[in-house]
């Protein structure tokens, strides 16, 4: 009845939310096939509109691609496994099922990683060296210590750079070049040098975490400490405020939003630094040690589980910084 009015588009609802009722009526009167297509399109359109919808769609797409990749990447291995077992022929279904349940796949399937995560996080006691909670604790303690060092160093350098003009030109090139060296090359050196000085355990790892995390804090803080506009600075001058008073009453509060933005980057960098350090200093455990052990023995599932656990930890750290940011912003009247 309304065929002429409605173009045979698959996603009318994105553009015409008001016509939902009309679309329903269409679905009832049109032939079954068209009704199903209309239903599917409406389903996807509704998904895309909601707050959760787009997230679900993107996640589903990633998982689907991942499964496809797992099948394609593991197929060769599976065929030789079948051949080695003396089988001459197999169905596609058998091949696909095989690729998704290998013990050491090139690319483990999402459910295998999920199972491994469940096993090592929930089923294993946290005190066991096979528990990812145990390794997470090792990594997180070094990360947090390193982040504290790094943030403190970053803030200190920024304060110096802002207040002593000659330091900007003499320090900044070193600060920047320190970040151009691949950390994977530098980390073993730092560990060896510190071990020579009888500094072992958590400190060398924290030092590497600090090495990566101070940089964004310095850059952000320098920018933040310089963010007061000339008017705000002139105001302090009309009160004959000292440099220290200007710092505490103006520069420092003005740089707080910048500080939290750089702390978010810094905390994630600290975790990366710790994991890299753990590749060198793997005896203590940690996510890096898990990655290393996994790659020694071809335990790809274990590697992917460690990667996901590390990513989850980084997300949690960033969320904690964001929470602190919101609390401080509210207290300082920045939150609207």
């Amino acid at each position: 009845m309304t065929e002429s009015k409605r173009p045979p588009s698959d996603f009318p609802d994105i553009f015409s939310r008001g016509e939902k009722g009309a679309a329903m009526a269409d679905a009832a009167t049109l032939p079954a096939m068209r009704a199903r297509r209309g239903g599917a399109s409406r389903f996807f359109a509704a998904l895309w509109r909601g707050a959760v919808g787009p997230i679900v769609v993107v996640c589903a797409a990633i998982v689907a691609l991942w499964y496809l990749g797992a099948v394609l990447m593991n197929a060769d291995l599976q065929r030789s496994a079948f051949e080695n077992a003396g089988r001459k022929s197999w169905t596609t279904a058998e091949l696909v099922a095989g690729t998704l349940s290998q013990e050491r796949p090139k690319l483990p399937a999402p459910h295998q990683v999920a199972q491994e995560l469940w096993k090592t996080v929930v089923d294993t006691p946290a005190t066991s060296k096979r528990s990812l909670v145990y390794h997470g604790g090792v990594t997180l303690s070094a990360t947090l210590l390193g982040f504290l060092f790094g943030a403190g160093l970053g803030v200190g350098l920024a304060v110096l750079i802002v207040h002593v003009k000659s330091l900007e030109r003499s320090l900044m090139p070193w600060i920047i070049s320190s970040q151009t060296i691949p950390i994977i090359a530098l980390a073993p050196m730092i560990v060896i040098i510190l071990n020579q000085l009888d500094i072992t355990g958590i400190v060398p790892k924290a030092a590497i975490a600090a090495y990566l995390s101070f940089f964004p804090v310095t850059v952000g803080m320098v920018k933040g400490l310089r963010s007061p506009d000339p008017l705000q600075l002139d105001l302090m001058r009309t009160y004959s405020a000292s440099q220290a008073q200007t710092f505490w009453s103006l520069r420092l509060p003005a740089c707080v939003p910048f500080l939290f933005a750089s702390l978010r980057v810094g905390v994630a960098a600290a975790l990366v630094g710790t994991v890299v350090a753990e590749l060198t200093q793997s005896a203590d455990g940690g996510f890096g040690a898990r990655l290393l052990a996994g790659s020694y023995y071809g335990q790809t599932i274990q590697i992917w589980a460690a990667i996901f656990a590390a990513a989850a930890c980084a997300c949690a750290l960033i969320a904690a910084v964001a929470l602190a940011d919101r609390i401080v912003a509210r207290r300082m009247g920045y939150a609207r």
Binding site: R237, T238, S249, G333, Y334
Partner: protein, 277 residues
């Protein structure tokens, strides 16, 4: 009563030079700064005396150096030639003595401080004890009709209210001299009229000396006891026009012939001083 007050003022003005030295005394003041395309003469040969209790407006087109002159008085810029004293000492000493309050074009409130915190900022810097700080903040917020907004943050206030808070901040440590750089330039006509009236009340009440930069003729005529007309390239004083309406004038005087006459003199002065070469 009005005329009595007017005579009062004229009396005061006549006596002032004899008894007290001028608050601001500039002699042959010049300021040249280096721009990328050569030196720019921002101020040239400025001679100006401002007596205690006066309300002096500096008016002129943009680029005539009126803000620069105010900033030299405040020791935010340094003159390159000539002499200037503020309260009988150099601008730098006057600034270190905290002898003036400065109101900028923008309110320049610190966004992370409440209104009370902003008004109390100079008091904190100057080391007033806490109880006195609270008292002064309360008093000065009442003076600008902002009682009840102590705990609000600047963004929660309108532009006019923010500028009033910034005036309360400049008054909080009770300086004798108030330097105001186009404080109402960004506000609409209606708010501006209202604030002009409030500022005049404040001036009458506190007996402070005010130097006021503006480019609005009616504002200058309504507020001032003296209008200094400036002209650009190089920035210099073109003419000084006395403007002695009673201290408790209201906005109504803007329709009187005397008001219009002075406004016309200012307009002529501005036109003469402004050459379009």
């Amino acid at each position: 009563m009005n005329s009595a007050m007017a005579t009062d003022r004229v009396e005061a003005a006549r006596q002032a030079p004899a008894t007290t030295p001028p608050v601001i005394a500039a002699r042959d003041l010049s300021l040249t700064y280096e721009a990328t395309d050569g030196p720019v003469q921002a101020l040239s040969g400025i001679d100006l005396d401002i007596q205690r209790g006066e309300f002096v407006s500096l008016i002129g087109p943009s680029g005539c150096g009126k803000t620069t002159l105010l900033r030299v008085i405040a020791d935010l810029e340094t003159a390159s030639a000539g002499s200037i004293t503020v309260n009988g000492v150099s601008p730098q000493e006057a600034r270190l003595n905290r002898s003036y309050g400065y109101v900028f074009q923008a309110p320049a409130l610190y966004p992370w401080r409440s209104i009370a915190g902003n008004v109390g900022l100079p008091l904190e810097i100057m080391g007033y004890p806490k109880a006195e700080r609270r008292e002064r903040v309360e008093k000065n917020l009442a003076l600008v009709n902002l009682t009840g907004f102590e705990r609000k943050f600047p963004w929660q206030l309108s532009g006019g209210m923010q500028q009033r808070a910034s005036i309360a901040r400049a008054l909080s440590f009770d300086p004798d001299l108030l330097l105001m750089d186009e404080p109402f330039g960004a506000l609409d006509e209606i708010v501006r009229d209202k604030l002009n009236e409030q500022l005049l009340r404040l001036w009458d009440l506190t007996r402070k000396t005010v130097v006021f930069v503006t480019h609005s003729i009616p504002e200058a005529v309504f507020l001032s006891t003296r209008i200094v007309v400036m002209s650009p390239r190089p920035g210099r004083i073109h003419e000084t026009i006395p403007c002695d309406f009673p201290r408790d004038r209201t906005l109504d005087i803007r329709e009187t012939p005397e008001f219009l006459e002075i406004a016309n003199r200012v307009r002529h002065g501005l036109r003469e001083g402004h050459s379009y070469e």
